[in-house]
Symmetry: C2
Subunit: 168 residues, 2 copies
């Protein structure tokens, strides 16, 4: 249930290199925290990481875990999962469809594709559990966010935004 030893070692090297390059300090807790995420196959959330690290280092605090996790994301050593963390969104389109999600503003749009609807799922997935839905998620920068500076043409003013100004 763990990531292979060699793979973890490789991730740790990338970790140290990235820290050196970014010029941030390599503290004991950062190492433990990254080690935890790198060795896990569970896609843990902050609290899971916290509990695991806490076992070996009883003084860590949950906020350090959060800060470190986001730092790691910034250095592109790990990725936050799923659509941008924020509020739950709802979808009234009950037909088969797929999603395009803007990594910057969170804009989410449906798109349809017969070809994608009929994708064959690898047999190995069967070992994980039953298959109820299969959706393709495409992430990128929406045309609006891709526009150079002067982002005056905000789509309709409402909706969409609200997602940018994250991070500390």
């Amino acid at each position: 249930m763990d990531v292979g030893k060699t793979e973890v070692a490789r991730r740790l090297d990338a970790f140290k290199a990235a820290f050196k390059k970014a010029g941030v300090k390599l503290t004991h807790q950062r190492l433990e925290i990254f080690g935890e995420v790198a060795a896990s196959v569970e896609h843990p959330d902050a609290e899971m990481v916290f509990r695991a690290v806490q076992a070996r280092m009883p003084t860590v605090s949950l906020d350090t875990v959060y800060r470190t996790l986001w730092l790691l994301s910034e250095l592109r050593l790990i990725n936050p999962l799923g659509p941008r963390r924020e509020s739950v969104r709802f979808d009234a389109n009950l037909a088969k469809h797929h999603h395009y999600v803007c990594m910057q503003c969170g804009l989410t749009r449906d798109f349809e594709s017969l070809a994608l609807d009929t994708i064959r799922i690898p047999a190995a997935v069967k070992n994980l559990g039953s298959v109820v839905v299969m959706q393709v998620e495409v992430r990128g920068l929406c045309t609006n966010c891709a526009k150079p500076k002067t982002a005056k043409t905000r789509t309709k003013g409402t909706q969409q935004g609200r997602t940018e100004g994250r991070r500390r």
Copy 2:
């Protein structure tokens, strides 16, 4: 930028039928709230819906919007988007991969597939924005949750769970 008129009408019919069948009351606010989600292509969150409905019905409260949104989900008239709402999760696997997510316990696992990595994305998506990542998300019931009752064999004890007891 809206859903077609006929489609909205169809969704409204399904809505009324489902309400009658479920024996829940069809109130003014519920109708407005559903209408808002059904006509939007934005996958709004509770607050977006709230603001939109509030414009036409200044007395609605945000909590009613929440309650209605979840009610609609229960009646399968809309679907909450993305992996179960809860905390952000992180992924240290930077290689191309896809996700299997259990709809009940939130368990999330990677799986690889050359075939899936090379899927051709429909040209229409280009109009939405650039493509940075393409991932297939398979949702279903993991083997553990699928087990009849006596779910004694909890995977490793830790991780995983924490996601079930949602909803009011």
